[in-house]
């Protein structure tokens, strides 16, 4: 039952993103990152719509150890519809830390951006924690894959 509720929530979240994001121009801010590459890379992903809608201002394929994140990507006007992608790309390390610990401010932020209602968060967090290795699959894992994996884990 819990799993069903969670899946339902996540699907709602996906829908929310897709509709919220479509108004944006995908190629608007390519200079900042590798949006196009990211899209091709995740073609088979269940997240294709989300990514199409949210990678326009992506910060590139961020991996661990990027401590000063968003070089050249400082246009506030464009945060509007890209928050999740940007947030994960710019906060890979602290998000991984929070997922491993099952709590923390970055994890709360992720949940909020994925529109997980507060009632479902405890279950969401412990599921991510238990499946840490499936989300952060290698030390070179990239932010787009992390988002993919989080959704797969949440839906599983």
């Amino acid at each position: 039952m819990k799993r069903l509720v969670l899946s339902f929530i996540t699907v709602l979240a996906l829908l929310g993103f897709t509709t919220a994001g479509f108004a944006e121009n995908i190629h608007e801010n390519v200079g900042c990152g590798l949006g196009t590459m990211l899209l091709e890379k995740s073609k088979d992903s269940i997240l294709i719509e989300i990514l199409a809608a949210t990678t326009n201002a992506t910060l590139g394929n961020q991996t661990f150890g990027i401590s000063s994140g968003t070089l050249g990507c400082r246009q506030p006007a464009r945060w509007a519809s890209n928050e999740l992608n940007q947030f994960v790309a710019a906060n890979m390390d602290s998000l991984a830390k929070d997922i491993a610990a099952g709590k923390g401010e970055s994890l709360d932020t992720l949940a909020e951006l994925m529109k997980i209602p507060s009632g479902g968060r405890a279950a969401f967090y412990s599921k991510l924690q238990a499946n840490f290795a499936k989300i952060f699959t290698s030390e070179n894992v990239q932010s787009a894959d992390v988002i993919d994996n989080i959704v797969s884990v949440a839906l599983s």
Binding site: G65, R74, N91, D93, A100, D108, S126
Partner: protein, 607 residues
Amino acid sequence: MDGLLARARQKELYRDRTWEALLHYKKRGLFLTGMHSLVDDPKFFLAPDGRDNPESELEATIRAFFSPETGDGSARCRFPARYDWLKTALRIDESRLPGAYCPAFEKAIGGKEFRRAVLVFPTAHMNSPASMFGHTLIRIDTGYRSKLLSYAVNYSANATDTNGLLFAFKGLFGFYKGYFSILPYYEKVKEYNNMDQRDMWEYNLDLTPEEIRRMVLHIWELQGIYSYYYFLDENCSYNLLFLLEAARPPLDLTDRFRLSAIPVDTIKAVGEAGLISGVEYRPSQATVIREKAALVNGPDRAEALAISEGKTGADTFNWRTESRNERILTDDLAIELLQYNFSKGKIPKTKYKKAFLSVLEARGKLGAEPSMDGEDPNDTGAERPDRGHGSRRAGIGFGFRRGAPFIEMSYRPAYHDLLDPSQGYVSGSQIEFLSISARYYIRENRLRLSRMNFISIVSLAPRDWFFKPVSWKIDTGLLEKAVSADRDSTVFFLNPGGGFAWNAGNNGLFYALLETDVNAGDRLRDKYAIGPGASAGIIASVAGGWKTHTCGRWTQYVAGDRHTELSLESAHRFRLGPEEALDLIFSGSWAYGSSRPEAIMKLNRYF
């Protein structure tokens, strides 16, 4: 439009406080009759003489708002806060205005919710002179609950020089342009908490949503607009005060800081204006490490340390303990140490990534941390910086030097010394600018400059099992000192030093420094003396408000006026009230075969 201009003239709107606040006008001239904006960028003004003439700027603004020009570059799109105010002040009928189309503005701001404004203070960071007094920025919370997603509004100098001296010079004298920038708050948290290791204090501002909206409109107006940046007065903290004035124009905060704006003093002023409704604390990673390490026993700590240093064969834990709780504490510590070492460049990225993933995987398997009841994560015992002593200090006292009685008066414009109560300041640090002490020797009926520090910076940072900082000092100014067996004279001195410090007992700090002293003065043989030296001391909080500093210093002047100087001092400061303290200082120095004992009792007041 002519009607509006007439109405504006008749109401003398150009004298209105809101107009002053939005244009950053300040009085100037011999009798303060003229006006002048502190914004230097010509793009900010619509009238050619707008910078010095509020009236013509106002009229140019009204005209521009009525011009058929539209789009992002039009006056109405660029100056929404001015428009917002004029609309009400002049009761403008918007239907008579040409329709404004501001896509960029609409996209960034239109319809967004601005919930809360927060004044953020990342505390000082001793090893970076540019951050010595700390910094302030404003966080604007939007519809998100997560603060990390808020906007961080930051005013900073656009400086590219890496040469410290050049940077300091250009910064002091306004060679850099300062700009407002906006970043996601998480970038600022990473920068201050994780990279610079600065604790952050977040002061919630008691502003209404309407006031916050006005602040946001004004921030929009300041996008890409520069003012010359001056470290001492027109700095980050000073410029943020304009944002608060734009939010609530009757506030007058900027006039109080025309000569210098020390970040923590601006926070105090904001508090005195009744604008602070709460405070939160965001410890740096270094602070978190100290807290977590205190909960982990020695062998486990060593294990966490080995992993964090990326030592071969130490990429997984060899658990000594069966306790899940202890494993969690150790693993959490290893994670923090690892990130710290990486941010300080102590381990290469490849090693970091591998070890980071490994400790995190282990942590994931350990499951949720057992809940600790009744623990308030914000209750760390850290002291609010705005509750610290005032950064200016004046003192008057009485004492004897070689038996000769004197009255001493001293004044320090900024900021903190080793004996001042460390609440709200960096413990073990001293930063003083232009502090001065003069003595009136009663029997001789002579007034003498006893000491004047141009600058005095001391950073005593304790070394422990993990942190291995270097302590250092730089002290320069004028000083009255022995120049022969029976003669004192004023000399210039420059005294840098470096060494180590360690915690001694619960409240003590022991240090030892190697130093060099350069003296120059007419009364010195060859007019100068240079030599190496060493100093050591203990600073301790003995009880409640009693702090002591006992130290000794030896200098062997080997060039110029060759001689040996030895000095000992035991200084005690008793806190009498929140802003009052009593000093008792006993000292003696030996040089040129004679001694100079001294005792002083002095009353200090901070403000």
